[in-house]
């Protein structure tokens, strides 16, 4: 698994580092810590020292949380330096660092949403972790719409991390028959890591649930039951679905299967999705 951790140099980053460390500790994923900020003076010859300093602190925090007795990530580096990899783009290269898995540090400066998506595509990420505040937004300096753009357009699942909390329930909402294998596998990992129960919620309209949604829910339920994951099923009407998500997100981890075409896309337009991600108190997972 490859995880991209998008950090905005804000106080929101601490919970996302904790979540990243927990995921990495259990999944042995390759991790990229990406600090994104606006372009500064100096024509981009060297990275913003503020971002570089913060990223080094996050790296230390990440490694400390991993309690890396298995030498999972590179350590023992004798010398680290920032190397320019493109316009307003840098990667930290460390000599003498050895590890079983990759831990990369990168800085990009420019429009945050666009850069996070570019980085995700380039590295082939399976999951993006976004640093977001608890009920106060996922603000990136110079790009207030970054989180909305990322959750709407990412090539993979996105977890907007809010507070430091272990959910005992993961509530997965679907409205069509487009549940990807990758998303099923990601839910597996989260259920395992958090020892959580799984709720599978189907979207239904006044005239009743679509037969393909009903079939898909049954298949998803069977998938997890076969793997001894405690799961339950519930139907929620379209008219109250947005409120249901708002309420569930208060205490549980809500996951939205945003396939195409998707009623969820219509209910949660990019603006509404961005608002949901920004305003809820709990983490939100957008599954692709």
């Amino acid at each position: 698994m490859r995880i991209l951790v998008a950090l905005g140099g804000t106080p929101y980053s601490a919970p996302v580092i904790r979540e990243a460390a927990k995921l990495a500790y259990n999944t042995w994923a390759d991790v990229t810590l990406l600090a994104v900020g606006p372009q500064t003076s100096g024509a981009g010859k060297t990275p913003d020292p503020r971002l570089a300093g913060e990223l080094s602190t996050y790296k230390e925090d990440f490694l400390r949380r991993i309690r890396d007795e298995e030498a999972l990530y590179p350590s023992g580096a004798t010398e680290c330096a920032w190397e320019k990899t493109g316009p307003w783009a840098w990667e930290q290269i460390c000599k003498g660092a050895v590890g079983r898995k990759d831990l990369k540090l990168r800085i990009r400066q420019g429009v945050a949403g666009k850069l996070i998506l570019e980085e995700a595509k380039k590295m082939g990420s399976d999951l993006i972790l976004l640093a977001c505040g608890k009920g106060t937004g996922c603000a990136w300096e110079g790009d207030s719409g970054a989180a909305a753009r990322v959750v709407s357009s990412a090539p993979c699942s996105v977890l907007a991390v809010k507070e430091e909390k272990d959910p005992s329930m993961i509530v997965c909402c679907l409205d069509n028959a487009n549940v990807s294998q990758e998303s099923l596998e990601l839910i597996n990992q989260l259920v395992t890591i958090h020892h959580a129960e799984l709720g599978i919620v189907g979207l239904t309209e006044a005239k009743g649930i679509k037969s393909e949604v009903d079939r898909e829910m049954a298949q998803v339920l069977k998938y997890y039951s076969d793997r001894n994951v405690r799961a339950w099923v519930k139907m929620v009407e379209t008219s109250v679905f947005a409120d249901f998500v708002d309420e569930s997100a208060e205490k549980d981890l809500v996951a939205l299967w945003m396939g195409r075409p998707s009623l969820l896309d219509k209910i949660f337009s990019r603006q509404r999705l961005g608002k949901l991600v920004s305003s809820t108190r709990s983490s939100i997972l957008i599954l692709r």
Partner: protein
Amino acid sequence: MEDRKAMSILILDDEPIVCKRLMPALEKMGYHVEVFFQSPEALARFREKPFDMVITDLKMKELDGMQFLTEVKKISPDTEVIVITGFATMDTAKESFRRGVFDFLSKPFKIKEIQDVIQRAEVQMAKRRAEQ
């Protein structure tokens, strides 16, 4: 001209969709690939013909992945094993390495990721052959 035999890979996963995805991608790289959905059949085949590499899931009915890879290593210690799992934990990762796996990948993963791991394993195997 040296006749280079294609490396043989056995894939074991009880989810057919996983095997369906991996098999063509690895065959395209020039490997000889056989897929199995049940561990007893996979083990019987491995006893007939020890493969160069095994890619195995962990959570399966009957013989689970951990027992399977232990048997594989007993039959053919030089076979490199890559574990793939949707239920990764530090403990299962550590146990896998204790039993001699080459690498441990948690699902989901992109094809490129496992292709990179296989190529690294191939380099290690070539080095070992050269040293013998």
